[in-house]
């Protein structure tokens, strides 16, 4: 059988890719069944990210928690409700993880953890050409493992007094929920069908204290409404021809 040059290149590339996947898989063999994240406000503009994952550790008993927020630090971790002290920052290729030694091997465990995320609520500002500048949260979870994640959810609890102003991702209004917990507004997004390897779940919304909660602006709004209404009624009742 005679293979042309292009076919040979494609076959060689496929052969090479098979090996690269095998090496990657050997590094992170844990399989995540479900993964949920919940950001809650902490001191200043920081947040604490509470994670909960149902996962089968790799053959060495390791579980890998992805690092999705810059400069975040794993503060504490529990496996099946018991605190674990053996964890470290690690990298598989260029992908950063928190590596946790569970003590279990290739049997499902429930891992919970608390991750400190500095300046999570101090992100970039939207600067619209018309309208009010607001803070924006743009968060994306990327499945960097080689296995599909069974289900994924993220909840973001906003600091007291703040509320979601406009949501840009996910696009469909049926895909997210806005709620309230303990007096704080929340944003919740769930991907029930799971996330494939290299797939992602993104949320993006602006938030802040709306102008309608600010006394000075409220006063100005009602003064304007009263003034304009008074003038219109006076003019139109006062003999102005109404056509």
């Amino acid at each position: 059988m005679c293979l042309n040059k292009l076919t040979r290149i494609v076959l060689l590339a496929m052969f090479t890719m098979c090996f690269s996947v095998a090496v990657y898989a050997a590094g992170n063999g844990s399989i995540v069944k479900s993964y949920s994240e919940s950001f809650i406000p902490a001191e200043g503009k920081d947040a604490v990210l509470n994670i909960e994952m149902k996962v089968i550790p790799d053959h060495e008993g390791n579980v890998y928690i992805p690092v999705n927020v810059d400069k975040s630090k794993l503060a504490a971790v529990q496996v099946n409700g018991k605190a674990v002290t053996v964890f470290k920052d690690s990298k598989i290729g260029a992908v950063p993880y928190f590596q946790v030694k569970t003590g279990a091997s290739e049997e499902p465990v429930k891992v919970t953890g608390q991750i400190v995320c500095p300046n999570f609520f101090g992100g970039k500002k939207s600067n619209p050409s018309t309208g009010i500048p607001t803070q924006v949260i743009s968060y994306q979870y990327i499945n960097k493992s080689e296995n599909k994640i069974g289900s994924y959810s993220v909840k973001i609890t906003l600091p007291a007094g703040m509320e979601p102003l406009s949501v840009t991702a996910p696009k469909s209004v049926t895909n997210y929920e806005l709620g309230m917990e303990g007096g704080n507004r929340t944003f919740y997004y769930e991907v029930k069908k799971g996330i494939a390897p290299s797939g992602s779940a993104a949320v993006a919304f602006s938030y802040g204290v709306p102008f309608s909660e600010q006394t000075l602006i409220l006063t100005v709004i009602w003064l304007l409404i009263s003034g304009i209404s008074g003038v219109v009624i006076y003019k139109r009742l006062g003999g102005e021809k109404i056509v």
Binding site: S129, I132, L165, V173, L178, I221, R236
Partner: protein
């Protein structure tokens, strides 16, 4: 088409209309202020609240006519962007939406048809054959809408297609925009007939096909074309009849027969007028060819790829047709002869932006879910449940601009309620799906509404009152059908 742009000296308002003008601005502002300054309901974003406040304010201004509609549309654009109801790029982008281009192209086509004289010939032919009286003209247009719904699978294309013909029929009847009850009734019935006839034919608009998909996926029930037709056709026919009778009550036509005058001022018959047109001129033949080509492309929408290897959207068909009217040798029109009511284009863009903001911000979905969630619907009994669901399904169009978004939210919710109540899901979901095209109460609710509103023959309040009454009649017809026709066909 000159009738659209006729300017007549407005008379001073009296009674209710006068008070609406006096109180319109204060009521609109207070409503806006009250909504925007209230605490944002849990489950809704601030954007949603701002969109509702802006739309409510605009609705009061449109209905009361306290400021000109084009000014209220500009106000919507400014307030939406300043209050956070929608971002500037999105709001301004509405002027580039397909519906605006479709309207511009439709008016170019209408201008070309009018200039050539072909539109008048066609209108005289239709009126002399089928619409020799005002009532016959209205009934024949209902029949035309039904027939077109079978062959043209788009409500918007059908509206654009009938626009030049309806305008010329108005001209034959000497109907002056804003004053003539005949013109008002004809254009509003076009809105109703266009939408309601669609509800009888499953394939007449895409969201209905989508609803059938949901019913199959969520309830496991197959709804065939014939099942839909047998359930929807009697409801549509009776609703159109109700629309006709309500229209006659509300806006009794001031003319019974077209009055045609010759140059010396004496009247003559339609047949004489039609005969006086003589044989078709070359310019009329050009207009006929372009119009026939346009209709052909709209009718064959689903087969373009097989025929040409590429698809032409309905709006691009209209733009192509407008282009042909302007081209040398082929066309017959220049820009100065084109009559586009720009103030109504501005209104359409602003009103559509206000409606779209409700969809995009999630406000419409929030309101619908709130209504369904507020009652313990599962425990109220089957018939009351049916009536409540039909009412909400039909009138929910008032907060949705997009039929697709409404279908996505409405049908799964109705299937869920039916399952919770232990009712056969299809018994609620299919009748609810028959209300998807009930978008007849306000101009921004769907594209055909905007197209016919742009003729200037009716006001927002005319459409609102007439539309609400017709939908109430349809609701009643559905209630009667629950005990009669729906049982005969085994739906309930």
């Amino acid at each position: 088409m000159s009738t659209v742009l006729n300017s007549t000296k407005p008379a001073e308002k009296e009674g209710l209309e006068k008070w609406m003008k006096i109180l319109g601005i204060p009521v609109a502002l207070i409503l806006f202020g009250g909504l925007i300054t209230m605490s944002t309901p849990v489950g809704m974003s601030f954007q949603g609240k701002a969109a509702i406040a802006t739309f409510a304010m605009a609705l009061v201004l449109w209905v009361t006519q306290a400021i000109p509609t084009y000014a209220s549309a500009l106000l919507v654009i400014v307030v939406l962007t300043l209050s956070g109801g929608w971002n500037e790029a999105a709001v301004l982008g509405v002027f580039g939406y397909d519906v605006i281009w479709l309207m511009i192209a439709a008016f170019v086509i209408t201008s070309g048809m009018e200039k050539s004289g072909f539109a008048r010939r066609l209108a005289l032919f239709i009126v002399s054959k089928f619409g020799s009286t005002a009532k016959k003209a209205l009934i024949s247009l209902a029949v035309v809408n039904f027939l077109l719904a079978v062959v043209v699978p788009s409500t918007t294309a059908r509206a654009a297609l009938l626009l030049p013909i309806t305008l010329m029929i108005c001209q034959v009847y000497n109907a002056v925009p804003g004053r003539s009850n005949f013109g008002r009734q004809l254009m509003l019935q076009e809105v109703h007939f266009n939408n309601i006839s669609t509800s009888a034919i499953l394939t007449a608009t895409a969201p209905q096909i989508m609803a059938v998909g949901y019913i199959k996926d969520l309830a496991g029930a197959d709804v065939s074309w014939m099942t839909w037709f047998s359930a929807g056709m009697p409801i549509a026919v009776l609703t159109m009849a109700a629309s006709y009778f309500i229209g006659n009550l509300l806006y009794r036509s001031e003319v019974q027969r077209p009055v045609i005058q010759n140059d010396s001022g004496s009247t003559k018959s339609l047949a004489e007028e039609y005969k006086d047109l003589g044989p078709m001129t070359a310019i009329e033949k050009k207009a006929l060819c372009i119009f026939a080509f346009t209709v052909f492309l709209w009718c064959t929408d689903g087969y373009h790829t097989q025929m040409f290897g590429f698809q032409v959207s309905l709006v691009m068909v209209a733009v192509l047709s407008a282009l042909l009217f302007y081209l040398p040798y082929v066309g017959l029109l220049n820009w100065k002869e084109t009559k586009i009511p720009w103030e109504l284009m501005i209104f359409s863009a602003g009103a559509y932006a206000g409606g779209l903001a409700l969809d995009q911000s999630g406000a419409a979905a929030f309101l619908l879910n709130k209504i369904f969630g507020s009652f313990d619907l599962a425990s109220i009994g089957t018939f009351p449940l049916f009536m409540v669901v039909m009412f909400v399904a039909s009138f929910s169009h008032m907060v949705f601009t997009s039929k697709v978004v409404r279908t996505v939210i409405l049908i799964p919710a109705v299937v869920g309620i039916a399952m919770q109540a232990g009712v056969n899901p299809i018994a609620l979901a299919l009748p609810a799906a028959l209300t998807i095209c009930d978008s007849i109460t306000l101009p921004p609710h769907c594209k055909p509404n905007l197209i016919f509103y742009s003729t200037g023959y009716f006001s927002v309040s005319n459409q609102l009152v007439y539309g609400l009454l017709v939908l109430l009649a349809k609701w009643g017809i559905m209630g009667v059908a629950y005990f009669t026709w729906f049982r005969v066909i085994g739906l309930v």
